[in-house]
C-alpha cells in the first residue's frame, strides 16, 4: 500500500470515527484508538498521539457554538481544569511505566463504561440549594432553556473535583477526552443539569488533552503522516454528526452504536490480555 491510499483510507476511517463520536456523544478520540490499532495495526502509542489531537480539534470546534448559546459554565470549567490538567500531566508520566497491553485493557474498560454512561438516564433537574464551596467559588449559574433562563446550584464540589482528577489521569494515560467521566462528575456528583455538564465537559476536554499532548509530542508519539488525515477526518465527521443530530432521533442509533462499541472494547481487552499490542 502506498502513502496516498493509506492516507485516504485513514481519512475515511477518521471521518466515521468523528461521526460516530458525535452521534453517540463519546467523542472522536475514543473510537479512533481501536480503529487505528485493531484495523490499521498501528502501534497504540501512535494511536494515542493522534487521538489526543482529534480530541482537541473536536472540543475546540464544538465549544464555540455552546458558548454562544450561553450554556457552558466557564468558571466551573476553569476550576475543574486544575484537577484535569494536573491529572493529565500525571497520566502522561504514568504512561511511561505502563505496559502497552495494560493501556489497551484499561482503554477497553473505559470504553464500555463510557458506552453505558451515554444510554443511562440523564439528570435534568436544576438544584436550588448549593454546597458551601459552590458559593465560595462562585460556581452557581444559570442557563437558557426554551421556557426561559433556569438557575442552578452545585452540590458536592469536592467530590466532583476528585473524580475530575481521575478523569484527567485517564485522559493523559489513554489519550482520550474521557468526557463520560467528566459528565459523571458534574451530572451525578455535583447535580448539574445535563445540558450544562455536557457542554462544560466538552469545553474542558481541549485543555485537558493539550496538557498531556505537549508531553506526547515531545516524546515523538505524534506522526505527521497520520496527524493530517486524522484531524481533518474527525473534524469533518464531527461536523456532519452535529448537523445530523438536529434531523434524526439519535436514541435508537445511540443504543446500537454503544452495543457495537462495547464489542470493539471487548476485543481491545481480549487482545490486551493476549499481549497482542
Amino acid at each position: 500500500m502506498n502513502i496516498l491510499i493509506f492516507s485516504l483510507i485513514l481519512l475515511a476511517g477518521a471521518y466515521v470515527a468523528g461521526l460516530l463520536g458525535s452521534l453517540t456523544g463519546l467523542g472522536g478520540g475514543v473510537i479512533l484508538i481501536p480503529l487505528l490499532t485493531l484495523v490499521f495495526h498501528v502501534d497504540i502509542r501512535y494511536a494515542i498521539g493522534v487521538a489526543l489531537l482529534a480530541s482537541i480539534a473536536n472540543s475546540s470546534g464544538a465549544a464555540t457554538a455552546y458558548i454562544k448559546e450561553g450554556i457552558t459554565n466557564i468558571r466551573l470549567g476553569m476550576f475543574l481544569e486544575i484537577a484535569t490538567t494536573a491529572g493529565a500531566v500525571g497520566g502522561a508520566l504514568l504512561a511511561i511505566f505502563t505496559p502497552v497491553n495494560t493501556i489497551a485493557i484499561l482503554l477497553g474498560v473505559v470504553l464500555i463504561f463510557s458506552a453505558a454512561m451515554t444510554i443511562r438516564k440523564k439528570h435534568e433537574h436544576a438544584e436550588q440549594t448549593g454546597s458551601k464551596l459552590s458559593y465560595l467559588l462562585k460556581l452557581n449559574s444559570s442557563y437558557p432553556t426554551p421556557t426561559g433562563e433556569v438557575s442552578y446550584k452545585l452540590k458536592n464540589v469536592a467530590g466532583g473535583f476528585g473524580i475530575m482528577l481521575i478523569a484527567g489521569v485517564l485522559s493523559g494515560l489513554l489519550g482520550i477526552g474521557s468526557g463520560a467521566l467528566k459528565v459523571l462528575a458534574m451530572d451525578s456528583t455535583m447535580r448539574i443539569p445535563f445540558k450544562v455538564s455536557t457542554t462544560t465537559s466538552n469545553f474542558m476536554i481541549g485543555v485537558t488533552a493539550a496538557a498531556s499532548a505537549v508531553v506526547y509530542l515531545q516524546r515523538g508519539y505524534i506522526d505527521p503522516g497520520m496527524a493530517f488525515p486524522v484531524v481533518l477526518g474527525v473534524l469533518g465527521g464531527a461536523f456532519t454528526g452535529a448537523r445530523l443530530l438536529t434531523f434524526i432521533n439519535a436514541r435508537t442509533l445511540r443504543i446500537i452504536f454503544c452495543a457495537a462499541i462495547t464489542f470493539v472494547a471487548l476485543e481491545m481487552i481480549y487482545n490486551g490480555l493476549n499481549h497482542q499490542f
Partner: protein, 131 residues
C-alpha cells in the same frame, strides 16, 4: 443597571473566547490540509512507513526548533507538524485569554485559579517530562 453592564461585558469575553477557539482550529486544519496535500504530492507514491512498531519521531517533528527549521526548508511533514503546534496552542491560548478576562473583571480568585491551570500546562511543556 450596573450589574447588567457587567454581565454584558462578561458575555462579550466569553464570545471572544469562543471565536478564538474556532479560529485556532480552522487555522490548524488549513495548515494541516495544505501540508497534507504537499506531502501526498511529494511522497504519495512511496510505501507506508511501518507504524506497527513504535520508534518515536525524531527532533524534526518534536521540537520547536526542528519544526520551524523544516518549515523554512519547505518540508511538507514539518508543515503538518506546524498545524499540530497551532492546534495544541489553541486551548492554551484560550486559558491565557480567560486570564486576561478575569483580570479585567478584577476577579482575584479566578485570576489565581486560571494562573494555576496555565502554570500546570507550562510545566508540562517545559518541565522536561518527555524522558
Amino acid at each position: 443597571m450596573n450589574i447588567f453592564k457587567k454581565m454584558l461585558g462578561d458575555r462579550d469575553i466569553e464570545l471572544l473566547i469562543g471565536k478564538q477557539l474556532r479560529t485556532g482550529v480552522v487555522t490548524a486544519s488549513c495548515i494541516a490540509l495544505l501540508g497534507g496535500i504537499f506531502y501526498l504530492v511529494q511522497q504519495g507514491a512511496a510505501s507506508v512507513p511501518d507504524y506497527s512498531h513504535f520508534k518515536g519521531e525524531g527532533a524534526e517533528y518534536t521540537s520547536f526548533r526542528g519544526i520551524f527549521h523544516g518549515v523554512a526548508a519547505g518540508n511538507a511533514t514539518e508543515f503538518i507538524q506546524l498545524g499540530v503546534l497551532v492546534l495544541l496552542a489553541t486551548p492554551i491560548l484560550r486559558i491565557f485569554f480567560s486570564l486576561i478576562a478575569f483580570a479585567l473583571e478584577k476577579d482575584r480568585l479566578y485570576v489565581f485559579i486560571t494562573t494555576l491551570v496555565l502554570g500546570i500546562i507550562l510545566f508540562s511543556m517545559f518541565g522536561g517530562l518527555k524522558i
